[in-house]
Amino acid sequence: MLAGSPGGRVLPVDGIHDLGGMQGFGAVGHSPAEPAFQHRWEAVTRAMMLVVAGAVAASGGEFRHSIERMEPGHYLTSSYYEHWLTAAATLAVENGLVSVAELEQRAGGRFPLSGPVLAPRIVDAGADVGKPRFEAGDRVLVREWHPPGHTRCPRYVRGKPGVVVRVDGIHSVPDVEAHSAARRFEPTYSVRFDAADLWRDGQRGVAVHVDLWDSYLE
């Protein structure tokens, strides 16, 4: 995600959705069981997301990024189905299926949408990585970088050392598919991080595993 600065320069800012390790949240609002949909509008939203994603042929990366582009305050204070609604409407507007004016007129009020895509379109997806560079047991280091667009590398592991515990086959790189019609395929690895390497206050006897594409690793 990107935010404007007073000088008009655009600065890269990591997305609000990247919550791992963020402090200041309270207790988990746990309930042992709940209906699949608490309100009918949630089921309708789920259906509309599928309809829009199908109609505009959105990749998984594009869909997720349309949520990640939400205004941060809105993201943190709305339910997950409101995220989906916002994303569905945003993709529908961006692809010319509906207009904001008509949405707001019909809704009888404001219809907040996600912000624009600010990362450049990717023209050259780069070469596929067909063969895993690492195997289980290998020590790896996650790249320390802050891309302006979509990524599935959580901020809390960037720059951190870990150990590969599993190699999971070859998959489309989300960072590419969110910003391009082209695709790049790479192996993904499950990487084990010791909590003491992730956090100054890491708890004893805790390992966190994160699944990472090849290009996320040094």
Binding site: H17, E34, R40, W41, R64, L85, V98, P154, D211
Partner: protein
């Protein structure tokens, strides 16, 4: 929502926004007839934690199946007829007396739909996603899952294509139970890893 149109004051802003998008996409011929009811029916009666419970019960009852489940989760889950979206790459992680596994998705809401259904609201909300990777021992205790200090906690953040399922330990005193009886003991929370049985 037609009956609610007589009482516009009772319709919340989010419902009005959903209705607006639904109406516009329907007018454009993009919403197949019965689509919403079909989605509701599927997730209310076909896809849910009762599926995962059958997988767990089979693994408890059949050591050969358990071995296959831990080696190739996707194929073993498919043996019981479960699979599809958000379950194409399943990895099953087994709890033991010394190891406790728990799943999370810090970036969004990734969850193994075919075996657990749709994720609960708390799984998708910020507190769980922010805290489970940083202070899992504390969060688990707050949720009623108090673990001995020497239990190793393995957190699995579903950040790529794999979806995880926790295989809880078989409770003692369940010898001689049928698979159906065993399945009835398995809770959704035990397969997420926020509870032990």
């Amino acid at each position: 929502m037609s009956e609610e149109s007589h009482h516009p004051a009772a319709v919340s802003p989010i419902e009005r926004r959903v209705a607006a998008l639904e109406a516009m996409l329907t007018e454009r011929g993009l919403v197949p007839g019965g689509f919403i009811d079909e989605i509701t029916r599927r997730y209310e009666s076909e896809i849910g934690p009762m599926n995962g419970a059958k997988v767990v019960a089979r693994a408890w009852a059949d050591p050969a199946y358990k071995k296959r489940l831990l080696t190739d989760g996707t194929a073993a889950v498919a043996e019981l007829g479960f699979g599809g979206a958000e379950g194409d790459h399943m990895v099953v992680v087994a709890n033991t007396a010394a190891i406790h596994n728990v799943i999370v998705c810090t970036l969004c809401s990734c969850y193994p739909w075919p075996v657990l259904g749709l994720p609960p609201a708390w799984y998708k909300d910020p507190p769980y996603r922010a805290r489970m990777v940083r202070e899992p021992r504390t969060v688990l205790a707050e949720m009623g899952c108090e673990l001995p200090g020497d239990t190793e906690i393995r957190v699995w953040d579903s950040s790529a294509e794999v979806r995880y399922l926790v295989l809880p330990e078989r409770p003692s005193g369940t010898e001689g139970m049928t698979e159906a009886e065993l399945a009835a003991l398995v809770t959704r929370d035990s397969m997420i890893g926020v509870a032990r049985l």
